[in-house]
C-alpha cells in the first residue's frame, strides 16, 4: 500500500479537541466533520487539506478523547496518512479502523518540512522525501494492515463475517 502527497506540518501534543471540537460530535457524517477538522488551530485547514495531504507531527498525536470522529474528520478532509514522532494509543487504533495510515518515525519533525513531497510504503514504513532522502518508519503489518487494506474495521468485519458464513 503506497500513499503520497504534500506535507502539512504540526507540533507536539495535537489533541483530539483540536482535531475535532466536542460540539461537532453529535454527528458522524464525514463531510460535515471534515469542514471542522483542526478548526481551533487553523480554520483554513479544510481548504489546505482538500487536495490530499500527508500530516507530519510531533509527540503523542491525537492524545485525549476516544472520539473516532477525529480520525474520520482528518481522512475526509483529505489527509492520506499521518507520520508522527508518536501517536496516542486510542487515536492510532481509530486511524487504522477508519483506513487512515499512521506511521511512527521518531525525529520526523526534524527530518521532513512543510511543503515536502513524501511517498510512503505503509507496510514497510519506508518514507521517500522529495524523491531524494529515504527514512524508515514503523510500518503497519499483521491484523492492522488487513484492517487498513479493507478500508477500515467495519469493512474488515463485514468481510470476515461473509467468509465465516461461506463456511471457509
Amino acid at each position: 500500500m503506497i500513499v503520497e502527497g504534500k506535507v502539512l506540518k504540526f507540533g507536539d501534543k495535537i489533541d483530539t479537541d483540536i482535531i475535532i471540537p466536542a460540539r461537532y460530535l453529535k454527528y458522524t457524517d464525514p463531510q460535515y466533520l471534515a469542514q471542522h477538522a483542526m478548526e481551533p488551530l487553523d480554520p483554513e485547514f479544510y481548504k489546505k487539506a482538500s487536495a490530499g495531504v500527508i500530516l507530519v507531527a510531533g509527540k503523542v498525536f491525537g492524545m485525549g478523547s476516544s472520539r473516532e470522529q477525529a480520525a474520520i474528520a482528518l481522512k475526509a478532509s483529505g489527509v492520506r496518512a499521518i507520520i508522527a514522532e508518536s501517536f496516542a494509543r486510542i487515536f492510532y487504533r481509530n486511524a487504522i479502523n477508519n483506513g487512515l495510515p499512521a506511521i511512527v518515525l521518531p525525529g520526523v519533525t526534524q527530518l521532513i518540512n512543510e511543503g515536502d513531497y513524501v511517498k510512503i510504503n505503509v507496510e514497510t514504513g519506508e518514507i521517500i522525501v522529495n524523491n531524494q532522502k529515504v527514512y524508515k518508519g514503523r510500518g503497519i503489518t499483521g491484523m492492522p494492515l488487513k484492517i487498513l487494506e479493507s478500508g477500515g474495521l467495519l469493512d474488515y468485519l463485514k468481510k470476515v463475517s461473509i467468509q465465516n458464513q461461506g463456511g471457509n
Binding site: D15, A22, K26, K59, V60, E68, R89, I90, L154, L157
Partner: protein, 415 residues
Amino acid sequence: MPQTLTEKILSRASGKSVAPGDVVEVKVDIAAFHDLTGYHVIEVMEKAGMLKVFDKQKIVIAFDHLAPPPDVRSAEIQTQIRKFVKELKIPNFHDINVGILHQILLEKYANPGYVIVAADSHTTTSGAVGAFAQGLGASDVAAAVITGKTWVMVPQPFKIMLEGKPGKWINGKDVALKILGDFKADYFNGMSIEIFVREPSAFPMDFRATVSNMGIEMNADALMFVPDDETVNYIKTNRGYEPNTVRPDEGAKYVDEYTIDLGKLEPLVAAPHSVDNVKTVNEVEGLDVDQVFIGSCTNGRISDFEIAAKILKGKRVKSRCIAIPASYDLFKKAMELGYIETLVNAGCIVTYGTCGPCLGGHFGVAGPGETIVSTSSRNFKGRMGSNDSKVYLAGPAVAAASALEGKITDPRRFS
C-alpha cells in the same frame, strides 16, 4: 516467571502467558458506552449488519455527556440508544438520573483483575480498583460488544510507590498533576502504570479514582492501583461482597520505578493549554477567575465535596461556581452530609450526574476571554468552550478557594 499486575490480567484474559510487546486477543469482562459515543457504536454495529451483543450482562450503558439533553439532536441520540436497550433487552442501562459512566462502573461493576473497554478515554478510572481498563473508539467498542473480545498490545509496566500521608488540602488531583509535571504527557505512551500504596487507608478510593482517571492524560495504556485492603473494603461496603483480588508477584520486573512522598506534596495546578504545564498554586495565585467547576468523572466525589464545603461554609463565592457530583448516589450522600446545602448557600449552582461543562457540552460553557478553574481532567485549547478561554486544572481545594476569592487562591490560607 514472576508477573506484574498488567501481565497477570492480560495472561488470564488471553488464555496464555504474555510479555510486554505481545499483541494478543483478550476477552473483555465489561464493554461500555455512553450517550455521545453510544449512538456511534450502534451505528457501526448496524452498518456491519451485526446488531447483537456477546453477553447482555456484560454491557453497561450510561447517559452522561448529553444529560439532560441540551438540544433536540441530543434528545434524539438518547432516544436511539433507549430503543437499542429495549430491543436487545440490556439490563445494565442507566438513564439521565444515575450518573457519569466511569463513576457508575466504579460503584457497581468494576472488579480487580477485570478487562474493561468503553467508548470513552477516561475508562482508565476503573483502574482505581485494579482493573485493566482502556478507552477505545466506537468501532473497536462495537467489535467488543458484538464478539466479547478486543486486541491489546501488552504495555511495558512502570511502578509508582505512594508513601506517607497527604496533607489537609491534598487530593488525588495533586498526585496526578505531580506525575504529569515530572514526566510530561508523552512519557508513559506504551506503558501501564501500577501504583502501590504503602499505607492503603492513607490514599482512599476517591483519590485513587482521580489518579486513574488521569492515566489517559499521561497517555498510559492503563493506570492501575494494586488491589489492597482499601480496594476490598470499598467493594464490600458498596456492593456487599468480597472481591477476588489479584496482585503482582514478588520480584516482577518493571521498566522503571518512582516514589512519591504524599506528605511533601503541595497544591498543584495545570496551566493552559496543556495537562502537563504543571505549576504550584503559588506560581499562579492572584489571577482573576470568571468561573469555577467542581465535579466531573475526575473530581466529583464525596471527598471533593467535603473539601469544597469546608472552605465555603458560611461564606459567599465571588466567581460563578458550578458543582456537580459524579452520580446520583453521591449527590444524595453529599446532601445527607450537608455539603450540598453549604455549597448552595455559598452561591454555587449544584446539579447531579452529568459531564456538563467538562467538555464544553452544556451547563457552563466557557465564553471568549474567560478564565476557568476546573477540577476536570483536560485544559486543551477550546476544551470547555471558546478557543479564547483559559482553563486551569486543580483539585477541589484550590477550586473552592478560588471561587471564594474570585481569583486563584492557595487553600492553605484556610487552614
